[in-house]
Subunit: 300 residues, 2 copies
């Protein structure tokens, strides 16, 4: 990849993050209603944080099919709401018990546990409300497909199931296949939705939708291995959250099972494989290819 | 109301409860997947419990418009999933901290807090997945409308907002208007969805949909006042949960603000008013009328 592409990706990510923040600001409740505390907590956790990788994937995949950028942005924001809700609930004392997230106190530390639970619930609910609304796409069949796919990816047989496994991981004897399944559920499924959403919005042919799904599969795993590497090798101040928690909890990770070097090789191989799935799109998918390189090199 | 109608209602409620249990059994994940603990918790909390009043309202309102009973049952089950998720989260230690529900240990007592949080999340998510699926209605515009309305009713400006207010109720100086708004959000909105859902499924004219919405509004308030009366006058063994908690927590309720007699009068008046909204439906709505009588007389 050239320096120019790296620069283009960095600019595109920054532009997406700004657009996502503005759109979330618009989509999330605000004002001084008596129940504003839960709205404040939703906004605290959803605004101004993170790389917005998932909305970026929606917007980039949508751009391959001439989808209205406004529609892609709405779907990206709905996906980001689900991601943010999952972080709020994962951080709770009964779950991972984290105090810091993105360099700031977690939602339950900034507010309280009850408010954090409710803010997560409301973000999840709002995501489906946004997807089902007419402004997302003129064709209700497309909106239903988006709702169904996002629910399927994030529910008890998707992300939530993965988080259940993760909570039990220290007590289970997990090999690479089991960890792969866990991570595929916990983080892979939302990344997969992000990449498929563009194809759904653009009513893409099945073959191209599958190409994006395959890309997402490899990207998601590469992303997770990179995350495991960050957890071992990263700098807490830079990452903005507590690191080394998996090892401390006695959980198997790609790094503990494969070692640092093999894990790094595996992540690079997956990123290359992800890119090859994008062949049918030619140069139009260059930023998605660069994204795969980015996720395996960030911070490590 | 005649004895025959009371009997018919009781039979119809029992039939609905059986159908809802069977359908939920079918709709909720089961089996021995590694993450089955969260599926077990979903089933524990959603199966074999409660009066299934909300699905009953969907089925009865749908019957006014020749809707397929299978479709109404699916929508009723989706609504019941949202109701059950809200009970699981409301019962958590960080919220109302309840040990018993429907005569059994609450979800977090039977499993653990983390599993209960996840089971609630997964039930909420599954509700939208069910609504968006083709089996719910052949017209995707109808399915989108159902998703949007249920999300709108249950989110941060609906049920979740109401629960936020309820948590703060002891610290707020709430009068009857404020309590009415709180309860309208916390319990009224889901009851409203239940009654409107039949009209949405049946593509009913706006005037009939509004009649059902108005019925639901009065029914929901009557229901809540009856609940407040039960909390003061009820029998814990019969109700299956701890009573007298509002008074203990120093929260204002309809009963604390109005007194037992005026609260009872108010509930009866609301139930009668609810029935009058059903005039356009004639005898076809007799069971819905009887339901209004039922909710204000159960147990008190």
């Amino acid at each position: 990849m050239t320096a120019t592409l790296t620069e283009m990706l960095s600019q595109a990510l920054a532009a997406t993050a700004a657009a996502v923040n503005a759109e979330l600001d618009h989509l999330l409740p605000s004002g001084d209603a008596p129940e504003h505390r839960v709205h404040d907590a939703m906004r605290y956790s959803a605004l101004e944080g993170g790389k917005r990788l998932r909305p970026f994937l929606v917007i980039q995949s949508a751009s391959l099919f001439n989808v209205s950028p406004a529609a892609a942005l709405r779907v990206g924001c709905a996906l980001e709401m689900v991601h943010c809700y999952s972080l709020i609930h994962d951080d709770l004392p009964a779950m991972d018990d984290d105090d810091m997230r993105r360099g700031r106190p977690t939602c339950h530390r900034q507010f309280d546990e009850a408010t954090a639970i409710l803010a997560g619930d409301a973000l999840l609910t709002r995501a489906f409300e946004v997807l089902a609304a007419e402004a997302t796409h003129p064709d209700p069949a497309v909106r239903c497909e988006l709702v169904w796919q996002l629910a399927h990816a994030s529910g008890g047989q998707g992300m939530v199931g993965g988080q259940m496994l993760d909570l039990q991981a220290a007590d289970l004897d997990m090999d690479v296949a089991a960890i792969t399944r866990l991570q595929q559920m916990k983080t892979g499924r939302l990344i997969g939705f992000g990449c498929e959403a563009g194809a759904i919005l653009g009513k893409a042919p099945a073959s191209l939708r599958l190409a994006l799904k395959n890309y997402a599969h490899d990207l998601g795993l590469a992303f997770q291995i990179a995350d495991d590497l960050l957890d071992v090798l990263g700098d807490e101040t830079q990452v903005g959250k507590k690191l080394g928690k998996d090892a401390e909890a006695g959980k198997a990770t790609f790094v503990s099972l494969l070692g640092v070097d093999r894990a790094r090789d595996q992540a690079r191989m997956l990123a290359e494989q992800a890119c090859r799935h994008l062949d049918p799109f030619g140069q139009a998918a260059d930023l998605l290819r660069q994204t795969a390189t980015f996720v395996v090199t960030r911070g490590v």
